[in-house]
């Protein structure tokens, strides 16, 4: 389980580098973010929430059942819009209002 940073989208703002709790993301010579320690990701998704250009996808490794789907998130006002995209490109959205508490 880890993240994939799309370098075409990355604008090099460094927000993900700053926030990663494991100091796992670094800057490459082009000034863009890259995942240096792929196997050391905890899966907290802090970087994905921080990215303003939607350049980071989260995925599960095959060792824990991953089959190429990705998870991303966009924040719009009070809403967190989570998107799961499977390997064929089908997208499923789950919208969570930040002001709603968990039911459980």
């Amino acid at each position: 389980m880890s993240i994939k940073i799309n370098s075409n989208r990355c604008v090099g703002c460094g927000r993900c580098i700053e926030v990663c709790p494991g100091n796992l993301i670094k800057r490459n010579i082009e000034g863009k973010a890259f995942m240096k320690h792929e196997k050391d990701c905890w899966g907290c998704t802090a970087c994905i929430k921080e990215c303003v250009v939607d350049a980071i996808d989260f995925f599960l490794g095959a060792d824990i059942g991953g089959t190429g789907s990705t998870l991303s998130i966009q924040s719009k006002g009070d809403l967190n819009i989570w998107k799961v995209k499977d390997i064929q490109g089908n997208i499923q959205e789950i919208v969570i209002n930040k002001k709603d508490a968990n039911k459980y």
Binding site: E18, P21, C44, F58, L60, G65, V84, I96, N102
Partner: protein, 558 residues
């Protein structure tokens, strides 16, 4: 390396739950200068990075503090400090109110009362709990935060804390902090044992993998007394994603069942360790795999689970959706994790007095590093941060402080530089980590041995861990990032040594799974005492202490 020397009244090492709450509390004392040092960034560092699903420690209507104390005592089989649990639980509801005022969403009923879950929990949206705490810290005028600096050693002189050493994790800068008092709040230790997913997803674990026992290791090296490291913690989790099970179990009332569909929970008892012991035993005796019986829950319940997990452990929701095996159609497989050392769940950590002062004068501990006080959860960590912060203010007012010019600073700086200038060799950080986890897994009660160990194996483990500690001096760091990872291994090895010594010392099996001693498979009343340890002249000395029970208060005797 460049050198930066900084002076402060209070140094807070670690900006997680406890550290942040201490920072917020100290913000009320504008004349006290506070410096918080964090190896990542307090916005998302520590256990709360992804969020949390509930406030798990709250005194709800109809329950009392004594009920909470009794719950802790029972869960830890008596090896707790009642004085500490008492003054922690006194503050649960107060710190929750502070959190709500800071912006945490808490579910309320039509009468404005918090909606409860079980006997001790209230329902929240905890996705942004860490940014809320961090923003509150950043608003305090007298609190400065330095992110991305890793602290490796305390400065202690004549039994009193003087400050700490560390380095910038990105730039070649050596830090020397001088302080009148220090709060250590670095969390517990993960990654000592081989993880459930040892390959690509090796950090998909229960506890924060970036909490590598820094605070424990620094305290051990400085000669602080530590308690109950033999009470390891193992969590019952969803298979593969190692996501929490409580939300499913309590949320939709799913019970533990084995591969034959039998509910086995009650057979073994419902204490934390018993629930895992039951699962391990069912598997060992051929009745696995084990599950939480979710099959048949409604689509609405399933949808609520998807959302709840996105708010705290998103990989579980991704797994459900990706595999097409949602919890309404399939039971959720469960397993025990690898063992961790974490004083917020078990009772291990610094031996402290009621104010959370350690046996080193002026060094206070809060959250997962502080021992004797299990089942803290988020509110307990905050309560301890607050207790320690109040005591720190009293301490610095009375302390006769004279800043010292430490010559050891240069020595420590050279230690860092040696790693950075040493030529690469065949030994790598990853190899040392793998070796450590293999030793702990095979000889010190890892998951693959059903958490069991024998004296002979522990003695072997001790020798091998000591040998591995010696090899650290041959590691080379290409950059500051490598240096961080070398010190994270060093911390874990130091913690491993203490864990082994404690496992050896407690000659009984008080807790299944947490300390499953093959040589002494039963518990005995003669072991109703604390196993403590102190490093003296390079030797780990074991100290036994009498239990501090109802009404008693422990105080350090200098």
């Amino acid at each position: 390396m460049k050198t930066r020397i900084m002076e402060t009244d209070v140094l807070i090492v670690g900006g997680g739950t406890a550290g942040c709450f201490a920072g917020i509390t100290l913000g009320k004392q504008e004349d006290v200068k506070v410096l918080m040092v964090e190896k990542a960034n307090i916005k998302r560092s520590g256990c709360l990075a992804a969020g949390v699903n509930a406030i798990n420690a709250y005194i709800i209507e109809g329950q009392t503090m004594q009920d909470y104390i009794n719950y802790c005592k029972k869960d830890a089989e008596g090896i707790v400090r009642e004085d500490l649990i008492q003054n922690m639980s006194e503050r649960f509801n107060h710190v929750t109110k502070v959190l709500e005022d800071l912006g945490l969403v808490i579910l309320k009923d039509e009468n404005g009362k918090y909606v409860t879950r079980g006997k001790r929990n209230i329902k929240i949206n905890g996705e942004n709990i860490k940014p809320i705490l961090a923003e509150a810290v950043n608003r305090q005028k007298n609190v400065d935060v330095i992110n991305h600096v890793n602290v490796t050693d305390f400065i202690v002189k004549d039994g009193r804390i003087q400050g700490a050493y560390g380095f910038d994790v990105n730039h070649p800068i050596f830090y020397e902090f001088h302080a009148k008092a220090v709060l250590v709040a670095t969390g517990g230790a993960a990654g000592l044992y081989r993880p459930n997913n040892p390959g690509f997803s090796r950090h998909k674990m229960w506890y924060c993998p970036f909490n590598t026992g820094a605070g424990y290791a620094m305290g051990i090296l400085a000669g602080a007394e530590m308690t109950t490291f033999e009470m390891r913690f193992v969590a019952l989790r969803c298979k593969d994603t190692i996501a929490p099970v409580g939300t499913i179990a309590q949320g939709v009332g799913a019970k533990q069942c084995n591969g034959q569909g039998e509910f086995y929970g009650e057979k073994y008892g419902m204490a934390t360790s018993q629930r895992i012991y039951g699962t391990v035993t069912e598997n060992r005796e051929g009745r696995g795999p084990c599950y939480l019986g979710t099959k048949g829950i409604s689509p609405e319940q399933e949808d609520a689970l998807y959302k709840a997990y996105l708010n705290m452990s998103p990989s579980q929701t991704l797994k459900w959706l990706e595999t097409g095996k949602g919890p309404s159609a399939y039971n959720v497989e469960i397993e025990g994790t690898e063992p961790y050392i974490v004083g917020g769940h078990s009772a291990c950590g610094y031996w402290v007095d009621q104010k959370r002062e350690t046996t080193i004068s002026g060094l206070f501990a809060a959250g997962d590093v502080a021992g004797g006080c299990p089942l803290k959860y988020v509110t307990g960590a905050m309560a301890e941060g607050e207790i320690a912060a109040e005591a720190l203010v009293d301490y610095i007012k009375k302390v006769n402080y004279s800043p010292i010019k430490e010559k050891n600073g240069e020595k420590k700086k050279k230690e860092y530089e040696d790693y950075l200038t040493r030529g690469k060799n065949l030994l790598t950080i990853e190899q040392v980590e793998e070796s450590m986890q293999k030793i702990m897994e095979q000889y010190a009660g890892g998951k693959s041995t059903d958490y069991r160990y024998s004296e002979n194996c522990l003695i072997l483990a001790e020798k091998k861990i000591l040998k591995l500690l010696e090899t650290l001096q041959f590691l080379a760091a290409e950059d500051m990032d490598d240096l961080l990872r070398i010190y994270e291994i060093r911390e874990r090895l130091i913690v491993c040594r203490t864990v082994i010594a404690h496992l050896l010392a407690r000659k009984e099996t008080r807790w299944h799974i947490f300390a499953e001693n093959i040589d002494y498979p039963y518990k005995s009343d003669q072991w109703l005492k604390y196993v403590n340890s102190r490093l003296e002249d390079g030797e780990l000395k074991i100290v036994f202490r009498d239990l501090v029970t109802g009404g008693q208060v422990y105080e350090h005797k200098n």
